[in-house]
C-alpha cells in the first residue's frame, strides 16, 4: 500500500520508531559493553538489563509520544512488565515517571 510505505506512512513510522527506540539506548549499552570486558559477570548482568530496558522502551513507545502500531497486540504484556518498568524508572533516578498513564 503506497500510502503506508511512503514518508509519514505507517511502514515508514514503524521503521523510524524501531530505530529511535534502539538509538536511545545504544549510548548506555556502549558504555556498559566496555565494563563487560573488565568485569565479565557484572557486565553480563548489566547487558541483560539493557536488553530488557530496550524491550520495555519499544513496548512503551506511546509514553515517548511515538505511535505504537502493535499496542493492541502487546497490551496483554502490561501486567507482567509493569513492575519491571517501575523498577527501571526508579533505578534511572525518576521517582515518578512523567507520563502518568504509564507508571507512577
Amino acid at each position: 500500500v503506497s500510502a503506508d510505505r511512503g514518508p509519514g506512512g505507517i511502514g515508514h513510522r514503524l521503521g523510524a520508531a524501531w530505530r529511535a527506540a534502539r538509538t536511545g539506548f545504544r549510548a548506555v549499552a556502549d558504555y556498559h559493553d566496555a565494563v563487560t570486558l573488565a568485569r565479565w559477570r557484572g557486565g553480563l548482568r548489566r547487558a541483560h538489563r539493557d536488553e530488557e530496558d530496550r524491550f520495555l522502551a519499544v513496548l512503551l513507545l506511546a509514553a515517548y509520544g511515538v505511535d505504537d502500531p502493535a499496542a493492541f497486540e502487546t497490551l496483554e504484556l502490561t501486567p507482567r512488565l509493569i513492575e519491571d518498568f517501575h523498577r527501571w524508572h526508579q533505578r534511572e533516578g525518576l521517582d515518578r515517571f512523567p507520563d502518568a498513564g504509564v507508571c507512577c
Partner: protein, 314 residues
Amino acid sequence: VLLTAAALRFVGGKGGVGKTTTATALAAEFAATGHRTLLVSTDPAHSTGDLLGVPLGGDATEVGPSWWAVEVDAERAADEHVERIREDAHRLVSHEVRATVDRHLDLARRASGTLESAVIDRLATLLVDEVDRYDRVVVDTAPTGHTLRLLAMPELLRGWVGGLVRQREKARGLDRAMRNLVGDDAPPEDPVLDRLRLRAERLSALRARLHDDAVVHLVTVPERLAIEETLRAVDELRAEKLTVGTLVVNQVIPDDAEGAFSAARREQQAIHLADLERRLRGRATVRVPLLPHDVRGPDDLTAIRRHVRTLLER
C-alpha cells in the same frame, strides 16, 4: 469439504457501489453449492443485517442452510480484550501498581487504532483459530482505504511483533548465560516471551491466509471517480502481493431501459466501461445491471446471484 485456494474472499470498493449486496449474493451462492459459508461484515456501518432482514451481531448467526453471518463488533471486541487483560493484571501485579495498570488500560482502550486492531484480532479468530468451521468465508469490508489497510496490517504487525520476540530472546540469552555462570542450568521460564511468540505465530497464520487463500473482489460502478479509485486499488493490492479476482461492475443501465434519460446515461457509461476494460488489460470483469428497485431480502438477491455466480471460480 477441504479448504482450497480461494476459499476466502474479500469484497471491497468505494462507498455505495454495492459491496454488501455483492458479498451477500456471493455468500448465498457458496452456501447454495453446499459449502459451509460464513459472511463477515467488517464495515463499522454494518448493513448486512438490514439487507438480509435478520438482526446480526458479533457472534455468528445462522441465516440459511449452511450459511452464517456476523457483523464484527469492534467496540465489544476491544472491551473484551482489555477486560481480559485487566483480570490478568489484578491477579498478577502488586497493590502498589494496580491503579497504574488500570489507568494504562483505560488509555489504551481509547487510543486511536484500538478499534482497527480489534477488527484484525477478530478476523484472526474467525480465519485462523476457527479455520475448520467453514469451507468458505466472504468478508464484506469498509470502503477501499480501510480494505487495503486491513489486508496489509497483519504483515506489518507480524514484522513488529517478530522484532519484539528477537529482542526478548536476546535478553533471555544473556539471562541464561548469567545463570550458567553460577551453575543454574534450569531453563528459565518467560511468560512474556511465550505470549509474544503466540501473537507472532497467530499474525503469521493470518498473513498466510490472506496471501495464500484470499481473493479480493473489487466492486465498482461505471463512473469516473469510482473507476479511478478501483484501478488504484488493483495496483495497490498487487503491490501487496494479494490476489485480485474478477471485478464487479455494478449498476450498469440495462439495454432495455427506455427513455432519453436512460439512453444518455447508457451512452456515458459505455465510455467509462470501455475505458475501464482497456486499462484493466484483460482482467476479468462481470457486469451487474442496475435494478429498478432496492435489493432487500433473499428474493431480490436472486437477481444479483445470477450475475455474481461467475465469481465462484474466482
